[in-house]
């Protein structure tokens, strides 16, 4: 089974759960006066879940035929050739983004940002640290000034133990 049909199967599962919630669990909490209303909070989700289940079944069962083969489009990444792509860097960068999200509050904006840009560039193969770290530091400083000073959104600049 091709990847797109597997994805449709997963979406089918999600929509079934969504539909179950809409049809069987949401209305129990509804106060009596709202039950006289022609529209309930669950009405629109019910319609959506039915339509989504039908559509994802069409894809899972392969009822619709595509009129264009996708391999002809060179700008698309074709997942069958996935092994040829640089998946390791992409995965590492994603992990780094998660790490950044977790570090942003405790380590402060400046430190985590310099770390993020430096490590990110090193994952991609950059080795000239004497350029990289100053550039990252200047960029972090400028962005911090713009966000804090111009936009007025608080960003803790320094690690928690420094203030």
């Amino acid at each position: 089974m091709a990847l797109d049909r597997w994805i449709a199967l997963i979406i089918l599962g999600i929509t079934c759960a969504y539909g179950y919630a809409a049809f069987f669990t949401m209305d129990q909490l509804l106060p009596p006066f709202m039950q006289r209303n022609p529209i309930w909070p669950s009405t629109f989700p019910k319609v959506l879940s039915i339509l989504a289940i039908i559509t994802s079944l069409i894809i899972v069962l392969g009822l619709e035929k595509s009129d264009k083969p996708r391999d002809e489009d060179p700008s698309m990444i074709v997942y069958r050739k996935l092994a040829g792509y640089d998946l390791k860097s992409a995965g590492l960068l994603l992990a780094l983004m998660v790490l950044y999200a977790l570090a942003l509050r405790p380590a402060g904006f400046l430190l985590s940002t310099v770390g993020f840009i430096t490590i990110g560039a090193m994952i991609l193969g950059e080795r000239k640290l004497h350029y990289l770290i100053p550039i990252a530091a200047v960029a972090a400083g400028v962005v911090w000034y713009l966000v804090e000073g111009v936009l007025g959104i608080f960003l803790r600049p320094l690690p928690f133990f420094l203030g």
Binding site: P41, T43, G120
Partner: protein
């Protein structure tokens, strides 16, 4: 109308807003030039900045400037490197790149800039004529018709999404609509589908979703596929920006035709700059004289002017449904709609009467934006083109950093960053499997409006009767169904014919 125009002029010509146009165009050109980053990603990155400015007209002017700049920047990299940054400028590389190879890069850029300028200008004039007309018609719509009109818009977007598989696009639209129901709705103050998580109480943030759907997968693609970010060809010297009188004569009728055609294609939901530019190219090739036809693809000035005019006119045209109906016809205008809603402005037929300053200032600033691109960006192009030499090792971490910052500024919450990464991974996998992502975002943004209008009409008609109450509602819903069913029916027939099965008629 004249009064509104004057209000618009005075708003658009304030120092702040002029700076916004200029800044937006420059930023857009800069980033739009980078291969692989489309206008949607750029606008998504710029939205937090625009929203936190607080002034809706300035914000919309900035974002519109970025949009134009991105399209212009995209054509620059198409011409110089044969590496279009934006899908709407792919057709410009057909003739623009051969011209650059022949050493006429400067001339190609000038033609592109002039064609874009004229396309955008004619588009802006047509917008000035048609938007007020359409919004006075739209004032007659009831919520039932509005609901039906949005359904038509969504199905048209799904039908034209371009991957040839309508079911996938519809499924993505529905997923977007389902995501919009998460959190507390306006009509019922009761949390829905939050799974007990506090962070989902106010629903998904549209900025996070826009970043996750467009900016993050683009950046990850750049990482995974080295070829994408390395320039395909050598950047030639950009000199001699002048064009000759005969060339100007040759492209004048092309620009005239394509600006009108492009505008009307842009107005249609789902058909944006990309379709307009390809169609413009094809039409001009077909009606050209025979000896000129041979030049197409070899560096024809007409072949460059046609898609450039059409894509800019279409960009302007795509603002018509946004400003008059509040229904975006493309991913980019959907993002603009989200930004406006975040700024407490609801675009729709009453925008023109309620806040004429926004409505007219945007239209006027589109014109100024085109002028800025011609006067300011064109002479600067040789310098701006240097951005193409930024090494990817520096570029990619910065793109990722800006997507993270955008999501963080929007919500001021570190959990948002984790949601961003999670949704970004999902979006990348969906793109692998050729699921179009723009319908998802458009569905998400229209979701709450769609449900509000649906609920209102249900309440007014006390049930499902609203569908039959007014003939227009039913008619629109039938059109929506046909839009979805016809392409898949035709695809089945084409497939059946290929297999040698005789068809019924």
């Amino acid at each position: 109308m004249l009064e509104g125009l004057l209000i618009g002029l005075s708003t658009a010509f304030s120092i702040q807003n002029l700076l916004m146009v200029i800044g937006g165009c420059l930023i857009g050109t800069f980033i739009g030039m980078l291969p692989g980053l489309g206008p949607m990603s750029i606008i998504a990155i710029m939205i937090p900045v625009a929203i936190s400015m607080g002034d809706p007209s300035a914000a919309l002017i900035l974002l519109a400037g970025v949009y134009y700049g991105a399209i212009f920047g995209g054509s620059t990299s198409s011409i110089l490197l044969n590496a279009p940054g934006v899908a709407g400028t792919v057709a410009s590389s057909f003739d623009g790149y051969p011209m650059a190879r022949k050493g006429q890069a400067g001339k190609a850029l000038t033609i592109a800039a002039i064609a874009s300028f004229l396309g955008g200008t004619v588009g802006a004039i047509l917008l000035m004529i048609f938007a007020p007309m359409l919004s006075s018609v739209a004032l007659l719509f009831h919520s039932a018709e509005y609901f039906a009109l949005m359904v038509v818009g969504l199905s048209a977007i799904a039908a034209f999404a371009g991957t040839g598989q309508v079911a996938k696009a519809i499924l993505m639209t529905l997923v977007g609509l389902m995501m919009a129901t998460v959190g507390e709705g306006a009509l019922f103050n009761m949390p829905r589908f939050t799974m007990g998580m506090m962070d989902l109480q106010s629903g998904f943030s549209f900025i996070t979703l826009a970043m996750a759907m467009f900016a993050l997968p683009e950046a990850l693609y750049l990482v995974m596929d080295r070829k994408r970010s390395s320039p395909g060809g050598e950047t030639g010297k950009i000199e001699n920006l002048r064009i000759s009188r005969s060339e100007a004569k040759a492209i004048a009728p092309v620009i005239g035709r394509q600006s009108v055609q492009g505008f009307f294609i842009g107005v249609l939901p789902g058909a944006g700059a990309t379709i307009a530019s390809f169609l413009g190219y094809a039409v001009e090739r077909n009606i050209a004289k025979e000896e000129e036809q041979k030049e197409f693809g070899q560096g024809s000035v007409k072949g460059l002017a046609a898609p450039e005019t059409a894509n800019n006119a279409a960009c302007t045209g795509s603002f018509v449904p946004l400003l008059t109906l509040g229904i975006p016809g493309s991913g980019t205008t959907a993002i603009l709609l989200g930004a406006l809603i975040a700024l407490n402005v609801t675009p729709g037929p009453r925008l023109m009467t309620e806040s004429p300053d926004i409505f007219w200032a945007v239209i006027i600033s589109m014109y100024i934006g085109n002028l800025v691109l011609l006067v300011l960006n064109l002479p600067l192009i040789p310098y701006i083109a240097k951005v193409l030499t930024i090494p990817r090792n520096y570029l990619i971490p910065f793109i990722l950093f800006f997507t993270l910052m955008g999501a963080y500024i929007g919500q001021n919450n570190a959990t948002e960053l984790l949601i961003l990464v999670g949704l970004g991974i999902c979006a990348t996998i969906l793109r692998f499997a050729d699921y179009p992502l723009a319908p998802l975002l458009i569905g998400f943004i229209l979701g709450s409006m769609l449900e509000d209008n649906f609920s209102r009409s249900m309440q007014l008609a006390d049930g499902w009767g609203f569908i039959l109450d007014r003939p227009m509602t039913l008619g629109l819903l039938i059109i929506a169904a046909l839009l979805v069913l016809i392409p898949s029916y035709r695809a089945r027939r084409a497939k059946a014919r290929q297999a040698g099965v005789a068809d019924g008629d």
